[in-house]
């Protein structure tokens, strides 16, 4: 019981900071998205494909979380937008305080878009509000259609499911209609996009979804 009580306390502290962040983002007119998925589902590459499609006058910043390494930040920094790496040193998710610290160095004034790439983990990040406008869950077709049922939290709390790596569909046992049905069973209003960073399928829609008013 002590564990549960403390977890509640930690979460409510997180919620308080996240609410402050959400107010700041709203004041600045910054759209903030929180990307969640398993390790290796292709979040970083999807973000790279969006960054290279954004117009140069779009004000975008990226925060990327990893347990170790700054590989992702180095990849994302190639596109000319500011990138901040959060190395969690063991923690399995980003929390609102990490975001608060990380954006202290960013100029939020006039920032159109803040993209937050969470730690690769389909479970824990779903419990931590980061002050985002919405969560996006990425599911690669190599992971199986059953994932929305087995990890419902991520799908229930996300506004968009990106079905990624659809170029691999001929080689893996994955039924797209079943995956869609499973996702909608958990979250009837979830939007769904199908993408491949190899074939380019769906990437224009993906980029428009991220920055609807500007692309």
């Amino acid at each position: 019981m002590e564990r549960i009580a403390l977890e509640k306390k930690v979460l409510s502290e997180n919620d308080r900071i996240a609410a402050d962040l959400r107010q700041r983002f709203a004041r600045e007119g910054t759209r903030v998205l929180n990307f969640i998925s398993s390790p290796g589902s292709g979040k970083t590459m999807l973000l790279e494909r969006a960054l290279e499609r954004f117009p140069r006058n779009l004000k975008v910043a990226v925060v990327t979380g990893d347990i170790q390494t700054d590989n992702d930040a180095r990849r994302l920094a190639h596109y000319g937008f500011p990138v901040r790496q959060i190395t969690t040193a063991g923690a399995c998710h980003l929390d609102a305080r990490m975001i608060e610290k990380s954006i202290a160095e960013l100029d939020l004034a006039g920032l159109d878009l803040l993209l937050i790439e969470n730690v690769g983990n389909l479970v824990c990040p779903t419990s931590y509000d980061l002050g985002e406008e919405c969560k996006v869950v990425v599911l690669s077709v190599t992971e199986g259609e059953d994932k929305p049922l087995k990890y419902p939290g991520a799908f229930f709390r996300s506004s968009l499911m990106v079905l990624n790596k659809i170029d691999l569909l001929p080689y893996v046992p994955f039924e797209v209609p079943v995956a869609r049905e499973n996702a909608r069973h958990i979250n009837p209003t979830i939007e769904i996009l199908e993408t491949s960073c190899i074939s380019g399928a769906g990437l224009d829609e993906w980029t428009r979804w991220i920055a609807p008013s500007r692309v």
Copy 2:
């Protein structure tokens, strides 16, 4: 600091139960393996392929952990060995107490092998000793070669890395030598097997690795 202190307390309680379990398993001569990976890396199918290869007189039981659903237990139950599902209802890992409860109904006497399929999560399960003889980490080639560097805990603490889904190598950007080097950089003594449940590659070696004295 309060969080860290409590986490230590929870972990030391887990370590105490895990130590008890380890003694019980040693007394019964049961080899216990703890399988860890991202969601969708193919743990369940790898276990199915091993179960169908085991001789009928091998005494095997399986415990499988999921946040929701008993899909995996139903799949694994087809092979005639006892299977217990642990539904963690939100928890991102199995802990020793869950194992203790789950095996209460199993007859450990004379059990050769207990296979524990952890929750799909490359982070949190690595911190919880379940009393196993060793951990096994499964990495699918669709996840990228960098995962041992980004999620070092799982690779550092595992005796074996299974590189799974190698049938997909022609279609994904994945360099096997780089993945091997990254894993050995984190854990110089880690063993490595390459497998595919589609082509059948490596499955005999995999089955022998799990039950070396009996297969």
